[in-house]
Symmetry: C2
Subunit: 490 residues, 2 copies
């Protein structure tokens, strides 16, 4: 029997690692900080990708592909950007190996690049260098492009999906004629992320804007969606940046307006990554395995026959195959787990581990009575259904599960949404399970940094729907015009 | 007006470059040898990828994702492999930049990697290093995995899509319990490539096996599909390798068989890349632009209104929108090009450049008579159709175009399939337009190399359906048991 999963209450971080490995989502690789996304994990990621891709296309975006490598000098062009990104990155310095003396191979010192290449940590620079050639007049705007790609940020402490040196993501890069239009795009894509998180991942998120300290390097404003994990820590699930004219100025991208005047182009960029996989696992799963929202589950229904002797095998195989066919024709992603190498108990545990939303068990008695046993993964509720007209009932149940998982996460989030009006209260809340803490802050980066140093809590965002409210900073007592949202975070 | 496209007869290579740039398929980048795949080109690639991906899944394969970086030492493990691949590649030596004295940034010499990382040129080594942990017994086999990824091979002379330093591809990597099963897989995937080329790309291919000299570095046998371009040069469009136990031995991947014995695992790998985009362009297009097979065309039908005054605009917009809706509902990828900034003549030229398979033109007279003008991109044939019940007629025509493009390419290939029985004949055929030349060869790599040096022609493959036939090598006169297929190639 494979290693058990550590219970959440015992060690939440270990529970997460155990689960990711045991459920076949990802694996460690021979390259420090880089992970392998295993077939089951990748199947979930494909569903995330396809759903988002459809939403990007519906909102008028096209995909393209830009180079993996960025000339080093590009990073010096946008002053803030380089500090945020170019420091911890993979640097290509040579382009050839040769046979070494010891029978191995070595870097050929003759093959040194004149200018080093950076493996992209994000693509604003190479893309805006290209947009200079693509944009001449207002007729070329808006330019609405997205790319699905791998990126590399040299991380010292890595965790599967949550923080890896290489990860997969999408990065949208759009160009606009006016600031208003660019801001509108920035917020539109934040709405897309919000809707995706809610409708596909069953994740309630808080939409907000980052403080200056937490802003994307090179952005005027960074919008984000923040979500809460079961251990009370927050996780940033996606960001959308209004870049102003910073990159247009750095790469001299101007356009001729309707009035014939030359002006710098306005920019946005926005992205989500395989980090979403980590959020998905940590938000919904339990000590027995994954709990997947049906819309993202590679397998939505598993049919497990309860064999008793070889006669039952034939009959159950026929009945199971018929039900599988019926469900598949109705558009359900179903597997008939008829393999007789494993016992039903093992298969039950496996289906729980994999987070398959519905488990159907079929025994000889069911064949006689035209029934089937139905178990929901999310609530573990057990039901006996009539086999007749099964597909619509299953589809209805899948929808109910999708909604329930969302509601459960929303209830949890609401229960862990606190207000602190003093430093003592703030610290006490952090000690007692964390969650989001809404509190007054004096608006300075210094105070923000001090609070982080003392408590490890950071300002996750200033929520978009924040009311104006006079108050006093929980740390310094200085006047404040609104509350902001603090949390310890991934 | 944008730059004209160089005619094929004047300069085929220049025609190709002009077309790729003008049609918006790809662009040069600031990084030597790396290209940018533009939205229109990427939309075609997405269709290629999705079609292939569906075929891989139908044949039981799952996608996964392995790291971009491979430790240098991995390449020394399989002796042949390193010679073929690890020499010309991008090498990561450092992981941090720092601020330089001149205000720019420089590589931090303190941040040198203990072992250099190679940006993957292909992933056999990192994948087989992983398979060691994933495969214990025959129950874990076969392991059928594919990955869609970017790879880097440092090329000195590059051409958009055909040969670039970074390119996109898929690489299948499968593990089997027996040699027979692995060979079967190798050939099955060759069939998948053949079917894809035929049914989607309208490309007739020759299936064959490579000579030892042209074999993949580390393979026992390399199977390939070879196709002919309009200039009489061949292009290798895909390969499928039987790797024997080479990588299993290099990375110590063994399994326990049904009999309890430990044995090394048998392997295959197979891939196609964005090179297919180059093949697609060169096989079918003409001096006016792309000719795309309807199944891969991002836009299959364009509807162009012929405005005459503002009254006509309203009527034509209504009618065009109605037809667009009708075709879209029938599953046709259609655009209604109603923008009035450009004249119809410009739009006609653009639709030819983009290779849109069917162009519909709608004038006021058509509105009165219930007709529409239909022009095929492949034959330029012009027809007048009744608007009534248009969708099924258009769908039928798209199918006819798909078949016709294939037939045209097949006819061209057959006309350029020659036999040479003497050296003189061989050279004359190469001088007179190339094509595939079937000729006897003595079976030695030395002769193969000599022929290449003298003529630039290489052995593309030994066709799978090759008959046994006694003869004499065209160069050395030594005895030969079969003909092989020569061509100058991309």
């Amino acid at each position: 029997m494979a290693k058990e999963i550590t219970p959440r209450t015992q060690d939440y971080a270990q529970w997460y690692n155990d689960l990711v490995l045991r459920a076949g989502l990802a694996d460690y690789s021979a390259v420090r900080g880089c992970m392998i996304i295993k077939p089951y994990g990748f199947a979930i990621w494909e569903r995330i990708r396809d759903a988002l891709d459809g939403m990007f296309k519906e909102t008028g975006h096209s995909n393209a592909y830009f180079p993996l490598f960025i000339p080093k000098s590009f990073f010096s062009r946008e002053a803030t950007h380089v500090d945020g990104f170019a420091k911890e990155c993979a640097i290509v310095t040579h382009y050839r190996l040769r046979n070494g003396k010891d029978g191995g191979i070595e870097v050929d010192p003759e093959a040194r690049l004149d200018e080093e290449l950076i493996v992209r940590p994000t693509s604003e620079t190479i893309i805006w260098n290209t947009y200079r050639d693509w944009i001449q007049s207002y007729r070329d705007l808006p330019l609405l492009i997205n790319q699905w790609a791998n990126v590399v940020r040299w991380e010292m402490r890595t965790r599967l999906f949550l923080r890896t040196t290489e990860f997969l993501w999408q990065e949208g890069h759009t160009a606009h004629a006016t600031a208003e239009e660019a801001v509108e795009e920035t917020r539109k894509m934040l709405e897309v992320y919000d809707r995706f998180a809610r409708e596909w991942m069953s994740l309630p998120v808080i939409k907000g804007v980052k403080t200056e300290k937490e802003r994307f390097a090179g952005a005027i404003d960074t919008y984000c969606i923040e979500t809460l994990m079961q251990d009370g820590k927050a996780l940033q699930a996606g960001t959308s940046h209004f870049l102003g004219q910073n990159f247009a100025k750095a790469f001299d991208v101007q356009f001729t307006g309707v009035d014939g005047e030359r002006e710098f182009v306005w920019a946005t960029s926005w992205g989500v990554s395989t980090r979403l996989m980590g959020a998905l696992v940590m938000a919904h799963s339990d000590d027995d395995g994954l709990v997947l929202p049906p819309r993202l589950a590679p397998i939505q229904v598993t049919i497990i026959p309860i064999y008793k002797g070889s006669e039952s095998q034939t009959a159950l195989r026929e009945a199971g195959a018929r039900l599988e066919q019926e469900l598949r024709s109705a558009g359900v992603r179903v597997q008939f787990d008829h393999d007789d190498n494993h016992r039903a108990g093992y298969k039950f545990a496996e289906s729980e581990l994999k987070g398959i939303p519905i488990r159907l068990a079929l025994g000889m008695r069911d064949l006689e009575q035209g029934t089937i046993e139905v178990v929901r993964r999310d609530t573990r509720e057990k039901m006996l259904m009539q086999q007749a007209d099964l597909a619509p009932k299953i589809i209805h149940l899948l929808e109910a599960i999708q909604v329930n998982i969302y509601q459960k996460a929303l209830d949890f989030r609401n229960e862990n949404m606190h207000r602190a009006d003093s430093w003592e209260e703030f610290e006490r809340l952090l000690d007692r399970g964390g969650g989001f803490i809404s509190a007054h802050w004096d608006g300075t980066s210094e105070t923000e940094e001090l609070i982080k140093e003392r408590t490890k809590a950071t300002i996750r965002c200033i929520p978009l729907d924040n009311p104006v409210e006079s108050g006093h900073c929980i740390l310094t007592g200085a006047p404040s015009r609104q509350r902001v949202l603090f949390a310890r975070a991934y």
